[in-house]
C-alpha cells in the first residue's frame, strides 16, 4: 500500500525538519520526503492540511497491566489508548504479575502485542528475579526474548552489593539499566512530598534526600561498573542538579521525567485528590521549575507518560490507601505541547523529548522520518482543544489529575509500519 501524506507541516526533530513537506510511504517504510519518487502512485492520500506530521511518539514508560492485572486494563485497551495518543512505540516496565523475569513471559507479551498489530512493544526486563532485589535475572536470555533494558520498576533494591553486581553483569553485555532513585528506608510508608502540603494534610511523607541519596549511589556505581544507566522519573531540583553535574563530568547517562511532574506539584493534591497519588510523589513548585529547566537544557533527555491505569475502586479510597498511578498515554502529546508553549520552545525541539530522544535511549532506529525508516507517524491537529473526561479516554483507567482540564492537540491519524492504526474525525 502506497500512502501520500500531503499538505501537512512535517516536524522531524532528529532530521531538523519543520516545514510544509509531503511524506511518501511504500511497503511500510518512508520512501521519500518532499517530492514523490519516480513512478509513485498513491493508493491512499491523506490530506494533512492544518495538521502536524511527526514521527510516532515513543513512550519510555507505559504500564499495560498484562500479565496479572487485567481487571485494571488489558493489552487491547491500553494499546488502543497508546495509538489514540499518537504513540507508536512504548517501553513497558517489568512490574507485572508475575514480573517480567522469564523469557517465556516476555515472548508471550511480545506475541500478544504483535497479534494486536498496533504500537511496537519494548519490554523492560526485571533486573532481579521477582523484582525482589536478591538474585539476578537471565539478562542475556531475556534480551534474546526481546527485552531492551533492565529495571526494578518501583520495587526497592536495598542491597547495594546486588545493585553493583547487577550493573556489572549488565555492563558485560552492554545492556542498559533503568533505575528510579529512591531510598526505601527514607521513603517507607510515605505517600506525598515532604513539604508544606503533606504537613498540612497530615500525610506520611517522602523527603527529597530519599531521591538524592539513592541517586548518589547509582551514579557512583555507574562510574565504578561502566554500566549504561538511565534514571527514570526524576522528581527533585537537587536530583536534576546531580544528573547535570554527572553529565558535565562526562558520565554517559540518560534521564527521563514524567509528564505529570512536568506540570503538577504537591499543591495539586488539594483536598486529598487521590488521582495525585503518584510515584514518585509530586514535589514542590520549585522542584517542578527545576524539572522544566532540566528538560530545557538537556539534563533530562525525555518525557514519558508513566501511563499507569488504575480501576476506579482502587482510587475511591483515602489518599494513602488509594493505589498509585495515573493513566496518561493519551495525554502525553498535549502535555508536551503545553510545556512547549509555556517554555516558548519551538515545536521541533519540544517534540524531540517524545520521539528522537527516547529512541536514542532505547537504541532504536525510530523516532524520525528519514527515507528507509519504518513509517511510524503521528498526525495531529495542534489547534484542537479537547476536554479530558472519562468518555474521551480509550484507556481502561480513567484516573488522571488532568480530569476536567481542556488540553490542546488532538491526534487525527496514527500509522505504524505504514498502516493506519488510528483515525479520528
Amino acid at each position: 500500500m502506497n500512502i501520500q501524506i500531503k499538505n501537512g507541516r512535517l516536524v522531524d526533530p532528529k532530521n531538523g525538519i519543520d516545514a510544509q513537506q509531503d511524506l511518501f510511504i511504500a511497503s511500510g517504510r518512508v520512501v521519500a520526503v518532499g517530492s514523490a519518487p519516480a513512478g509513485f502512485v498513491a493508493d491512499n492520500v491523506i490530506d494533512a492540511a492544518g495538521l502536524v506530521v511527526m514521527p510516532g511518539l515513543i513512550d519510555l514508560s507505559a504500564r499495560l497491566r498484562e500479565p496479572g492485572y487485567e481487571y485494571k486494563a488489558t493489552l487491547e485497551s491500553e494499546m488502543e489508548a497508546a495509538v489514540a495518543g499518537g504513540i507508536t512505540s512504548l517501553a513497558c516496565p517489568p512490574d507485572t504479575d508475575p514480573p517480567l523475569d522469564e523469557p517465556g513471559l516476555v515472548e508471550m507479551l511480545k506475541h500478544r502485542a504483535r497479534q494486536l498489530n498496533q504500537a511496537h512493544l519494548y519490554p523492560v526486563g526485571a533486573l532481579t528475579h521477582g523484582l525482589k532485589g536478591i538474585e539476578l535475572t537471565e539478562m542475556a536470555e531475556l534480551t534474546d526474548a526481546g527485552c531492551v533494558a533492565f529495571s526494578q520498576a518501583d520495587a526497592p533494591l536495598i542491597d547495594t552489593r546486588v545493585l553493583m553486581r547487577s550493573m556489572q553483569y549488565a555492563a558485560t553485555f552492554g545492556y542498559s539499566v533503568w533505575l528510579r532513585a529512591q531510598d526505601s528506608f527514607l521513603a517507607k510508608d510515605g505517600v506525598a512530598h515532604d513539604g508544606e502540603v503533606a504537613t498540612r494534610l497530615g500525610l506520611p511523607s517522602i523527603p527529597v534526600c530519599a531521591e538524592t541519596i539513592a541517586l548518589s549511589t547509582m551514579l557512583q556505581l555507574a562510574r565504578e561498573t561502566g554500566a549504561r544507566l538511565h534514571i527514570c522519573r526524576i522528581s527533585s531540583a537537587e536530583g536534576v542538579a546531580m544528573v547535570r553535574a554527572a553529565k558535565q563530568q562526562g558520565l554517559s547517562l540518560t534521564c527521563d521525567v514524567s509528564m505529570n511532574h512536568t506540570h503538577l506539584s504537591e499543591m495539586d493534591i488539594g483536598f486529598f485528590d487521590s488521582n495525585c497519588h503518584l510515584v514518585p510523589p509530586l514535589r514542590s513548585l520549585r522542584d517542578r521549575e527545576a524539572l522544566r529547566a532540566g528538560l530545557l537544557d538537556g539534563t533530562i533527555d525525555a518525557m514519558c507518560s508513566n501511563h499507569s491505569p488504575v480501576d476506579d475502586d482502587a482510587k475511591q479510597l483515602p489518599f494513602a490507601e488509594a493505589e498509585v498511578g495515573a493513566t496518561g498515554a493519551e495525554l502525553l502529546l498535549p502535555l508536551v505541547l503545553k510545556w512547549a508553549e509555556q517554555a516558548k520552545l519551538p515545536l521541533v525541539e519540544a517534540l524531540a523529548k517524545v520521539s528522537s530522544q527516547p529512541a536514542r535511549i532505547l537504541g532504536l532506529d525510530a523516532g524520525h522520518l528519514a527515507v528507509g525508516v519504518a513509517a511510524d507517524v503521528c498526525l495531529f491537529d495542534p489547534e484542537c482543544y479537547w476536554k479530558v473526561e472519562p468518555a474521551a479516554l480509550k484507556s481502561q483507567g480513567k484516573n488522571t489529575p488532568f480530569l476536567g482540564m481542556e488540553l490542546r492537540g488532538k491526534v487525527r491519524y496514527t500509522l505504524v509500519n505504514g498502516q493506519v492504526v488510528y483515525q479520528s474525525a
Binding site: 503533606a198 504537613t199 511523607s205 483536598f271 475511591q316 479510597l317 483515602p318 489518599f319
Partner: protein
C-alpha cells in the same frame, strides 16, 4: 478550589477541618455552645429537641471510647437517634470498601455521620460521596484533623481568657503525628492569636511546620516563657519504636510538663490536654491535677461544642 466544607452560600455543610473556615463560623459555633452550657457557674447541659427525628451515625473505623461517647451524649441531648458502629479496621479485610459501608448506612436514612478513621482524608472522601442532605463531622482522620477537639479547646480558652487577640499559646509534644495539633493551629491563627508556638524535638515536628504560622521551639523553658495557654499533646507509646525517641523517660525529662517547667509560663496560665493522658510521660500528675489544669472542664465543654456543631449542620 471549592472548600468542600461550605455550601455555595458559604455556610457550613460538613465539619472536616478547622483549616479554611472563616472566623465567623468558628465563633458562631462557640457562641452556640455557650447557649448549651447552663448558667455562668453551672456546667450543666440541658436537653433540647433540636435534632428530634434525626439519625446520627457514629462510624468509628478506629477505636475511641471517649470521643465516641461525647458525640453520643451530645446527640442524645439534642434528642437525636444515635447509632454506634465500631467498624475497626476489619471491615476492609472483609472486602467491603469504606464507601460501600457509607452507602449502606445512607440507605438506612442517616442524617449525619460522625467519622473517625486512621487515614488522613477519610472524612473528605465520605463528604464528597454522600448526598447533599447528609452532613459529615470529622471525629479524627489520621494525622490530619480533629476539628471538634480544636473547637472545644477554643471554647475552653475563651472561657478562661475571654479574648484571643492578646494570647501566647504553646502546643507541646508530638506535633508530627497529631491531628489535634494541626486543627488547634488553624483554629488559633484564624481566631487571631498573635503568637502560637510549638515545642518538640525535631523528630516529632513535621517539615515546614512554620508555614502553618507557628514559632518553633526545641527547649521547654524558652518555649513556655510567658505563655498564657499550654496545650499538651498525647504521646503514643509506639513512637519509641520508629527511632523517633530514645525513651519515655528521656522525653518526660525534657518535654514532660512539670511544675518546674510550668513556672516559666504566666502565673495565670492554663494547662490543657486532649486526653487520654499519659501521666509521667507528657505530663506530671501534679500539673494534671493542679490549679492550672482545665483538663476536666475541657471534657464538659466538649459536649456543648459537639451539640453546637450538630445543631448548626442540622439547620442546613
Amino acid at each position: 478550589m471549592n472548600n468542600p466544607q461550605l455550601n455555595k452560600n458559604g455556610e457550613l455543610q460538613h465539619l472536616l477541618s478547622t483549616e479554611g473556615l472563616p472566623a465567623r463560623i468558628l465563633l458562631d459555633i462557640l457562641d452556640r455552645a455557650a447557649g448549651f452550657v447552663g448558667g455562668v457557674d453551672s456546667n450543666e447541659i440541658k436537653k433540647v429537641p433540636l435534632l428530634q427525628g434525626k439519625s446520627v451515625f457514629n462510624i468509628f473505623f478506629e477505636n475511641s471510647t471517649r470521643t465516641r461517647t461525647t458525640f453520643e451524649i451530645a446527640a442524645k441531648r439534642l434528642s437525636a437517634d444515635v447509632v454506634n458502629l465500631n467498624i475497626g479496621s476489619s471491615s476492609t479485610s472483609k472486602g467491603e470498601t469504606l464507601l460501600d459501608t457509607v452507602d449502606n448506612l445512607c440507605a438506612m436514612h442517616a442524617d449525619m455521620f460522625i467519622v473517625r478513621h486512621s487515614q488522613s482524608g477519610a472524612a473528605h472522601l465520605i463528604a464528597r460521596h454522600v448526598a447533599p442532605n447528609i452532613h459529615v463531622i470529622n471525629a479524627g482522620d489520621g494525622r490530619h484533623a480533629h476539628p471538634t477537639q480544636a473547637l472545644l479547646d477554643m471554647y475552653t480558652i475563651r472561657h478562661y481568657k475571654r479574648e484571643f487577640h492578646n494570647l501566647r499559646v504553646a502546643i507541646v509534644g508530638d506535633v508530627l503525628h497529631s491531628r489535634v495539633a494541626r486543627s488547634q493551629i488553624h483554629a488559633l491563627t484564624t481566631l487571631g492569636v498573635p503568637e502560637v508556638r510549638v515545642i518538640a524535638p525535631k523528630t516529632l515536628l513535621p517539615t515546614d511546620v512554620e508555614k502553618l504560622g507557628v514559632h518553633v521551639y526545641h527547649d521547654m523553658a524558652q518555649g513556655l516563657k510567658d505563655v498564657d495557654v499550654v496545650m499538651m499533646l498525647r504521646l503514643q507509646n509506639e513512637r519509641m519504636q520508629g527511632a523517633l525517641l530514645p525513651s519515655a523517660q528521656e522525653f518526660f525529662k525534657y518535654y514532660g510538663l512539670t511544675q518546674d517547667k510550668l513556672a516559666q509560663a504566666r502565673p495565670d496560665a492554663i494547662v490543657m490536654h486532649p486526653g487520654p493522658m499519659n501521666r509521667g510521660v507528657e505530663i506530671d500528675s501534679s500539673v494534671a491535677d493542679g490549679s492550672h489544669s482545665v483538663i476536666l472542664p475541657q471534657v464538659t465543654f466538649g459536649i456543648a461544642v459537639r451539640m453546637a456543631v450538630m445543631s448548626l449542620l442540622a439547620e442546613r
